[in-house]
């Protein structure tokens, strides 16, 4: 299964270095309310308007677990092919900060809700398996705002207490490309499950990136640095590239790498030391005495398993088998749940005599181009799956040519118009009457006698000239296949 991908190596003199990467992804649980309170989690509200007494840690306030968030975490665990732990414990991670009202974050330390799992990545040269170490639930902190006032820091507690899933990978990733595919795969799985919206702009998905380097072929891990809180795939890739090169340079200079936490400066494109191992916080983890250990039954887990939709890997397999798609095509269609949904709806609406290959080409070609140029998601597509399916059928049954179809598609975009009507109203129907076409071709041959003779003498290139003339004469509506056949016969 594990085919070797093109290796990402860093070269210095005669030395080659391999990069080892592990990710701690923080994914916001898709949930109306917070992990331990009933406050709303809606993004973009006025500061401090979604804060309960529990979120602001008033005296005597107690956390109560939101069962929905537990279900979401377990579902995600199932999606990651992971072990679900029936017994898990919420711990307190103690540290002081202005946007941490309790003076501790409730997290899971020793006993997470989800244990080991795996994710399959489709790389250009084959598949790669990435191990999942664990998934645990924790509260988000609030937000400190330092740039509103020169003297004061403002604190917004709207995020305080929002449920996060921390998904920790094994150090199995070896390149920025793999990180890209890994994050997209995680995002895809969680969006299929409806457990995280994966919206990186709104901070629903962030990652701490652990990077180390080692001489190619070495089995030992190098000393790692953790780059905190990177919030886009592009920045993750840039940070890894910078950090790996920095570490290699240190080794080449005969220096050692300090295990430390670093920050990625997106403006300067470099990582900077935030704190060393010696300065690391002592978080004084201990089980939160306000919460009993979380026990979930086999039945509870089974019920959630029954609730799991078809996930990208299975969907891909089915698309390949059922629709005879290539692995590449299937990947494109399944990676985003909304694309898969659109495609399946098109397939369903095309009815019996359908051309799936054609539909796939049109989705990944024309439709994606339009979405791209308009900056739209496929869920906001200006052409509905139903009308899209009609268009494909019109091509398939010869009513219009592929070329005309492009014109029709342009017209459909404005207001999701029915392609059938466009064809009728604009008279774009393909001319497929052999007699009419024969007459048209006779006329062209007559008008171009000399060229016809040249063709007969062996100048075969001129065949295209006659096709072009015939198409032109029909206003582009002539059935190109028929034109070919008739021309061959007549010339």
């Amino acid at each position: 299964m594990n085919k070797k991908n093109t290796e990402y190596l860093i070269n210095r003199r005669d030395n080659q270095y391999e990069v080892v990467i592990g990710l701690e992804v923080h994914a916001q649980v898709l949930s109306e309310s917070k992990l331990f309170s009933s406050s709303s989690t809606k993004f973009g509200a006025e500061p401090n308007t979604q804060v309960s007494l529990v979120d602001a840690a008033f005296p005597g306030m107690l956390p109560v677990i939101n069962e929905f968030c537990i279900k979401q975490a377990i579902k995600t665990g199932i999606g990651l092919n992971a072990k679900i732990n029936k017994h898990s414990v919420f711990d307190r991670k103690n540290y002081f900060y202005a946007d941490l009202p309790q003076g501790y974050q409730i997290s899971q330390f020793k006993d997470p809700i989800v244990g080991e799992g795996k994710v399959i990545l489709d790389m250009p040269n084959g598949q790669k398996e990435v191990g999942i170490e664990r998934l645990h639930l924790e509260q988000d902190a609030g937000k400190s705002i330092h740039d509103l006032d020169p003297q004061n820091t403002f604190v917004d507690l709207n995020r305080s207490g929002v449920a996060l899933m921390e998904i920790v990978s094994k150090p199995d990733l070896r390149s920025p490309d793999e990180v890209n595919v890994y994050i997209k795969k995680l995002r895809s799985i969680m969006r299929y499950l409806g457990t995280c919206d994966g919206n990186m702009q709104e901070g629903s998905l962030r990652a701490d990136v652990n990077v180390s380097v080692r001489p190619k072929g070495s089995k030992e891990f190098g000393t790692r640095c953790e780059i905190k809180n990177v919030n886009s795939i592009k920045f993750m890739q840039m940070a890894i590239e910078y950090e790996a090169n920095r570490q290699v340079d240190l080794i080449e200079e005969g220096k050692t790498i300090d295990q430390e936490t670093r920050l990625f400066d997106t403006k300067k494109n470099e990582t900077r030391s935030m704190r060393s191992k010696e300065d690391a916080h002592d978080y004084r983890y201990f089980p939160d005495p306000d919460l009993l250990p979380l026990e979930v039954s086999e039945k509870f887990i089974e019920e959630l398993k029954n609730d799991i939709p078809e996930l990208p890997d299975d969907k891909k397999k089915r698309f390949i088998e059922e629709f005879k798609l290539s692995s590449y095509e299937a990947n494109i269609l399944v990676s985003d749940i909304d694309t898969a949904k659109y495609f399946e709806e098109v397939v369903a609406k095309m009815g019996k005599n359908k051309d799936i290959k054609l539909a796939v080409n049109w989705i990944t070609g024309e439709l994606f181009a339009v979405l791209n140029s308009k900056g739209l998601e496929i869920s906001q597509s200006p052409v509905s799956a139903k009308n899209f399916a009609i268009l494909i059928n019109l091509i398939k049954n010869g009513t219009i040519s592929g070329k005309i179809a492009k014109t029709v598609f342009e017209l459909m975009i404005d207001g999701d118009k029915d392609p059938q009507k466009i064809v009728e109203e604009k008279g774009l129907k393909q001319q497929s009457d052999p007699k009419a076409l024969e007459a048209l071709i006779d006329k062209i041959i007559n008008e171009n006698r000399e060229k016809a003779i040249e063709y007969k003498q062996g100048k075969e290139k001129l065949f295209g000239f006659f096709v072009g003339q015939a198409m032109k004469a029909s206003g582009g509506k002539a059935n190109p296949q028929l034109i070919n056949e008739i021309l061959k016969k007549k010339l």
Binding site: A57, F58, G60, L62, R92, F96, G103, V155, F286
Partner: protein, 485 residues
């Protein structure tokens, strides 16, 4: 009117129900006595004006079906009370007015009672003499310059001094039972999970429990019936079948087996405590119960275990008092400086000591040796009780190793102060119910208490035993009203 404050809660309820007294009569009487009792320093905050208004309003349309109809009541200042300042005895919360009500006090007001005010206590309930309160020492009504015990010292003093007909305290390691014993009243620490912790300023979450403090066992049972409810807002609240404790109260304890644990006969225990215990054994026998010698082998580890677990939880629970959101804030150069000054100035010495102990025992490198080991020992202590309860229905011990001491006598010796809780702490560690009842006097005439420890959720049984013993003991508290102005 003067005899109103001498009446028990049960009598007051009867008199209001039979309209012999109005809520206004009763409320006025307790306010007047409270006002004349400033020397005791039992109150941190009074709410007398509002209490009188509520009493008048109650009398206009009295609902006499309630369990505490128009009864005025002061409560420990650890319970958050809506729109009434709640300090936990600390400078750091000196300006804190909650916008919410604790579940336990909510239950009390729902049964018709009226808030008189907030009672003094050790800072964040950390203390055994009420001397750590930011708001000063509380006097024991028994004698001048005598501590009332702690941490519910103001509560004990207020009940013994008849400033309130009854009250509620909280008990983390003995904070209800020890002051009850020092002031000659009844105090019940219910099973962990019986009373909601929602809205109670937390000290040590796995040990804290609210409970009634009363003049007699029947009053105590009635209040327990009111405050013990399942509460979904507290994840450690337990949904079990709760008795109508006062209605089901009986003196018939014939055939009950009472365990006498040999490990509670500690070195250096005064003879008068030993004598009291022997008398107690005789009383339960006189009531028709049987006593059985038992062993709770890990008892001697309870106090050190408690002084790891409780400070560990407290160090984390008190992290929220940082000057950022509410409460006292000192000026600082930057965030860290503000934290340090706020917490150095806002917390008293004992609280700081426990935060430091707690921070230490949770530190990486020490966690296993202290906190983890303490949790294991805690389990062994609980197992001791489980073993014992295979043979007995309840356990009888002294409440404290001595009677009340003088103010200032132990302030410079924390360990000697901590030893006060030696008989009460194992009960909290095991999550069990325990009740202290006044059972006699020492040579100085100071009250001494006996403790009855029950099985989990078996409050009814220990209340019954206490009720039966109470009659045999026939205790009379020696209150001279020396402080009255």
């Amino acid at each position: 009117m003067s005899d109103i404050t001498k009446q028990s809660l049960t009598e007051l309820v009867e008199n209001i129900k039979s309209k012999k007294l109005s809520s206004t009569d009763v409320t006025k009487a307790f306010i007047q006595r409270s006002e004349r009792s400033s020397e005791l320093n039992a109150y941190i905050t009074d709410d007398f004006t509002s209490a009188l208004d509520k009493a008048k309003k109650f009398d206009q349309n009295p609902n006499l079906d309630l369990k505490l109809p128009g009864i005025p009541m002061a409560v420990k200042d650890l319970f958050c009370t809506k729109n009434v300042k709640t300090t936990a005895g600390s400078k750091i919360l000196n300006n804190f007015v909650p916008t919410y009500e604790s579940t336990v006090t909510e239950n009390i007001w729902n049964e018709g009672a009226i808030l008189l005010g907030k009672l003094n206590c050790d800072e964040f309930a950390m203390g055994s003499s009420n001397e750590t309160s930011h708001f000063g020492n509380v006097q024991n009504p028994i004698d001048k310059n005598l501590v009332p015990g702690g941490s519910s010292g103001g509560s004990a003093s207020a009940v013994a001094g008849q400033l309130t007909p009854i009250t509620i305290g909280t008990d983390t390691g003995g904070s209800i039972r020890q002051p009850a014993s020092f002031t000659g009243i009844v105090g019940l620490k219910p099973t962990y999970g019986s009373c909601s912790r929602y809205g109670i300023v937390a000290f040590a979450s796995s040990l804290d429990q609210a409970g009634p403090m009363a003049q007699n066992v029947k009053d105590c049972a009635l209040l327990q019936e009111v405050i013990s409810t399942y509460d979904s807002k507290d994840s450690t609240s337990i949904n079990f079948k709760r008795n109508h404790y006062s209605k089901e109260l009986t003196k018939n304890i014939k055939g009950k087996k009472i365990g006498i644990p040999k490990e509670y006969r500690v070195d250096g225990m005064p003879k008068e405590i030993e004598d009291l215990w022997q008398k107690g054994i005789q009383y339960v026998k006189d009531c028709g119960a049987e006593t059985i010698d038992i062993s709770l082998p890990h008892t001697s580890y309870a106090l050190p275990t408690y002084y790891i677990v409780a400070p560990a939880e407290a160090s984390s629970n008190l992290a929220r008092y940082d000057g950022v959101k509410y409460g006292y804030r000192a000026k600082g150069e930057n965030l860290i400086d503000m934290y340090e000054k706020t917490r150095s100035e806002g917390f008293g010495a004992e609280v700081q000591r426990r935060i430091m102990i707690g921070t230490y025992v949770l530190s990486s490198g020490y966690y296993d040796a202290y906190y983890l080991k303490a949790q294991k020992v805690r389990k062994l202590i609980k197992n001791d009780f489980d073993e014992a309860y295979k043979k007995v229905d309840a356990i009888l011990t002294p409440s404290t190793p001595s009677s009340a001491f003088k103010i200032g006598e132990k302030t410079n010796d924390p360990v000697s102060m901590y030893l006060n809780d030696i008989f009460t702490v194992p009960v909290n560690l095991a999550g069990l119910p325990g009740i202290s009842i006044p059972a006699g006097h020492d040579t100085k005439g100071y009250p001494l208490g006996l403790q009855i420890i029950g099985k989990a959720f078996d409050e009814q049984n220990i209340l019954n035993i206490a009720f039966a013993m109470e009659e045999k003991i026939n205790f009379k508290n020696k209150i001279t009203d020396w402080w009255l102005k």
